[in-house]
Point group: D2
Chain length 337, copies 4
Amino acid sequence: MIRVGIVGATGYGGRELLRLLLGHPDVHLVAVASTSVAGKPLAEELPAFRKLSSLNFEQFDAASLHDRCDVVFVGVPGKASMEPVAALRKAGVRVIDIGPDFRLRDTKAFAAYYCTDHTASHLLGESVYGLVPWYRDKIRQASLVAVPGCYPISVLLPLRPLLEAPLSEVPVVIDSISGISGAGKTPTEAFHFPEMNENLKAYKLAVHQHTPEIEQELLFKTTVQFTPHIAPLTRGILTTITLRPERTFDPAPFYECYEKEPFVRVLGAGHLPEIRYVRGSNFCDFGWVSDERTGNLLIVSAIDNLMGGTAGMAVQCMNGMFGLEETTGLCWGGMAP
Amino acid sequence: MIRVGIVGATGYGGRELLRLLLGHPDVHLVAVASTSVAGKPLAEELPAFRKLSSLNFEQFDAASLHDRCDVVFVGVPGKASMEPVAALRKAGVRVIDIGPDFRLRDTKAFAAYYCTDHTASHLLGESVYGLVPWYRDKIRQASLVAVPGCYPISVLLPLRPLLEAPLSEVPVVIDSISGISGAGKTPTEAFHFPEMNENLKAYKLAVHQHTPEIEQELLFKTTVQFTPHIAPLTRGILTTITLRPERTFDPAPFYECYEKEPFVRVLGAGHLPEIRYVRGSNFCDFGWVSDERTGNLLIVSAIDNLMGGTAGMAVQCMNGMFGLEETTGLCWGGMAP
Amino acid sequence: MIRVGIVGATGYGGRELLRLLLGHPDVHLVAVASTSVAGKPLAEELPAFRKLSSLNFEQFDAASLHDRCDVVFVGVPGKASMEPVAALRKAGVRVIDIGPDFRLRDTKAFAAYYCTDHTASHLLGESVYGLVPWYRDKIRQASLVAVPGCYPISVLLPLRPLLEAPLSEVPVVIDSISGISGAGKTPTEAFHFPEMNENLKAYKLAVHQHTPEIEQELLFKTTVQFTPHIAPLTRGILTTITLRPERTFDPAPFYECYEKEPFVRVLGAGHLPEIRYVRGSNFCDFGWVSDERTGNLLIVSAIDNLMGGTAGMAVQCMNGMFGLEETTGLCWGGMAP
Amino acid sequence: MIRVGIVGATGYGGRELLRLLLGHPDVHLVAVASTSVAGKPLAEELPAFRKLSSLNFEQFDAASLHDRCDVVFVGVPGKASMEPVAALRKAGVRVIDIGPDFRLRDTKAFAAYYCTDHTASHLLGESVYGLVPWYRDKIRQASLVAVPGCYPISVLLPLRPLLEAPLSEVPVVIDSISGISGAGKTPTEAFHFPEMNENLKAYKLAVHQHTPEIEQELLFKTTVQFTPHIAPLTRGILTTITLRPERTFDPAPFYECYEKEPFVRVLGAGHLPEIRYVRGSNFCDFGWVSDERTGNLLIVSAIDNLMGGTAGMAVQCMNGMFGLEETTGLCWGGMAP
């Protein structure tokens, strides 16, 4: 049994980690840390887990976690994980961070998009970007994994294989639509039910922090115009990518690399994904249409932002880090309905 | 490994069975039968299961299922399971029926509420009502289990223990609110998204077919006034029970029987359940309030109608029938959010 | 043109008043007061009204409102309207209060259910309960109208005519389901979109403050067991009433009084309302089923809580107070879809 | 009073027309025709209009409508309005068609995108495209108005003024997200509540029939890549336009033409619209962001597809055709919440 701790388990990413790890056959959850509710029983703060765990939330203590855990997941908000991750790494604990702090190699880009300096840049060298199909071998050995952002996962799984295709200079247009769990657990006017129900909006045009992450993992070979939208559902990201290639090409051969990927489902030309088939699962589905009239290639992908887009990918990383079958504890179909 | 077949796997109950059984560590799914899509790959008809199963739907054939399966789940619509269940039992297969045909002992009540005669009444003697906490021992030996209806599960788990309490002659008022997956997969005007979104309604007042099922399992000790409602969500049943006892009493002692039930969570006085804490899980949560002013006892319960209310209870029955730990493959917390 | 002011126009009831009054052919909206956003343009705080009003929010000033307004609507939260209403009445302004402060005649009941003493009880004598079909004549002359609560409107329109029917001593069971706009505009964890979407719950069992209001307007002839529920939609209240009469009776004759009511639609026996047919309208629809088996009478009603349940009823009161056709500015069908 | 008839009043566009026209102060609705429910009372088929209309549906009869109506709205499905419109025009009735049949000037494009030949092309010469801000004068005199499609309205109001701006050869990328009422009233698996709730998808990539309509009304000066998406809400279209200009420019001056448009609200740079502020209203809101990094201009617009996107625009056309104030019967703010 892998002994696991979670720091910041009350956020939405952390709760999904709890759901997955409490049901994982090879995991023994030994510690949950939270600044805001330290001392409180987990099952009282998060009633979804009543009768499943008798743990209490505890204060974060890197040394104590080191003594008890083989690996610690960190699920605190963006910019807040630099400190605990640094402490955990100093104590010698393997860390899987589901936040953004250790994804960008370029600390200037981090400062520009996150509006704060990086205080643990000494760890960026050892941080491995946790996009399993592309960093599988490095993840196995990693001491620190930075799980990709939910939008980037939905973008990179279909786009990364196309870097060798005849792209053009025109920026790739990426319009994503996200469920509202992506905005986190803090109540605000914008996401108060009567305000957001039956609503749609776009946000953070031209400045969303996932833009440099996407461009980094496209190896800076293309510029992206990333525009996120919010729709009235809880889970899911649907991403529509409009590519203007130098010349039309068939993307199918570029996707053969995914044939044996357990959680990437390439639907093919003319077959488009829907959130309903990936909800509650670790899958990323995508398909495409070539528009002969305009010369553009259109790709649409779908993930569950909390599972395939965060916690599921994180657990898949853990499975790899500890030599387990990668699909352990993750192998369910989409919840439809 | 238990070799399992499913007859009628394309309905919403059947799909949830697929989701649970494909992820169950001790189950080998060997056959899925469906009249409407025989010959079609499961993963094509139900894209949520792509890359998880290479089965094709097949025509129903009791003898063939007998040769290959240790147990067969039947998920066809109400009134349509009498025939295949009879054939399966004749062939000697153990059967778990998630439909209503083998729940009522009284064939007159069946005819009155389902508007058809019972054509397999010879099996009612061996049929065991699959409400695990109350029929656990019988289920272990059963050749035929009739999984309770979703509404009755939400009603009986809190009400059944109170049969020894000082009830009165006044009918128990049961107002349930269900998500729309309970109405099944067939598209109709009533459940077309723009008609049902932002809508609420009551239906089948005084004549709902779960009424006699509830009264039977309350051992005919009380009359119930059961009124179901529909609200715009996919999964979940919230049931509010208004009891008028002879005299006020504390229900807590009556619920001590549930202390070790893995999936029944008794929240206590003043603590009320919500669907968000049971969604996607096998739990039934309930709590209560005694109204001193009126003398009434009010109980509220919550389940996920497809999992705790159908497929999860069915798998719990199967686990018992085959000597597995009852919680195997079912032990996740609610999906919140 | 009637010169109208609104105090507390930023709440959900106030916004609906704005929507109705800005479109009302005989109303000139001259003032909107708000403590929290005084000085701010209405169209900036409430972008739904851009290009429709150039008013700025102002500080509440009873004397100034008296000079400029024929009538003032008060839409501040419960317990907060006693003070401004008293000031407005002292200044001689006719007032329509959509909050609860002037509905209960019994200040002890007010204190018990609202947990505060009544500081303007001298006005209770002149306050008229604004349930138009039952207080039409008094409303015409009123200086102060207390618009009924949304739940009571859905309950009283069907129940009030039955006071002469053969009711019994058994408390009437009232289970209502409300959309979330009823909970107001303040963001909270409970109504954060990802928490409340796909959720159901009951709340304030046995202690909801609309209970004494309902019993008062049923002339204390019956006790009610009122249990409110919340479902994931924005607007609407569906109320299910379970009556246990002394003997069965036909309610139809009791409802003949509503034949000419413009906004009460009696659907009859076996015909049940749905929110979709009243959404965005001023109608209350209801129908019933007599259950011969149990002897109970079941009534179901539907309203739009913000319009028929609050602002529409308030405007109907105003129309009456100023001698207009009662339906002026209100005469639209339900928004379906 | 204008005497109005509606042909095809049971569809979603037709129902919204009914809602607007029954509340319109200068309209007398004299006839509603429907093939499927001829003879049935309107208030029975569409219970939202009980107590508001005593009309019965009638069979379509152009001559009879001519005798009784000053104008007839046609709301039948696409491709089905050619015949009744031709008959009505032959009988001399002024017609406002909310369907697509008389929008495209090019019958080859019509045949290509609608997969049928145009059978009333003799009327295309007199048909006026009912985009009020751009065809106001022609609409006043028109005998036949073709109300624009909902997606094109959301695209053209922001894009049409930019035709004189320095656009490039790169196709304009238009990603729209629509509520489900846009798909019409026919129940299908795709829009069955449990399938579409909590779902997102894209559809008709590269082949949507609004593409040639948009390009025609952009005077063929630019190519568009139009990709529609569906999200789980009933009403609303949010459109995100990604323009790649020859050089960056300030769009604000191009939008000064809208200053006095009653229903176009230009929010400006950095201000983005949301569906909640236009729901249930006739407004189109839009704003933009210039991305200096990529050189792109991003515009986001929002409408209520049934009102501002269909029936409201149609009534605005009618108001113009009959010399009424253009905003008559349409002048409400958005329904938020």
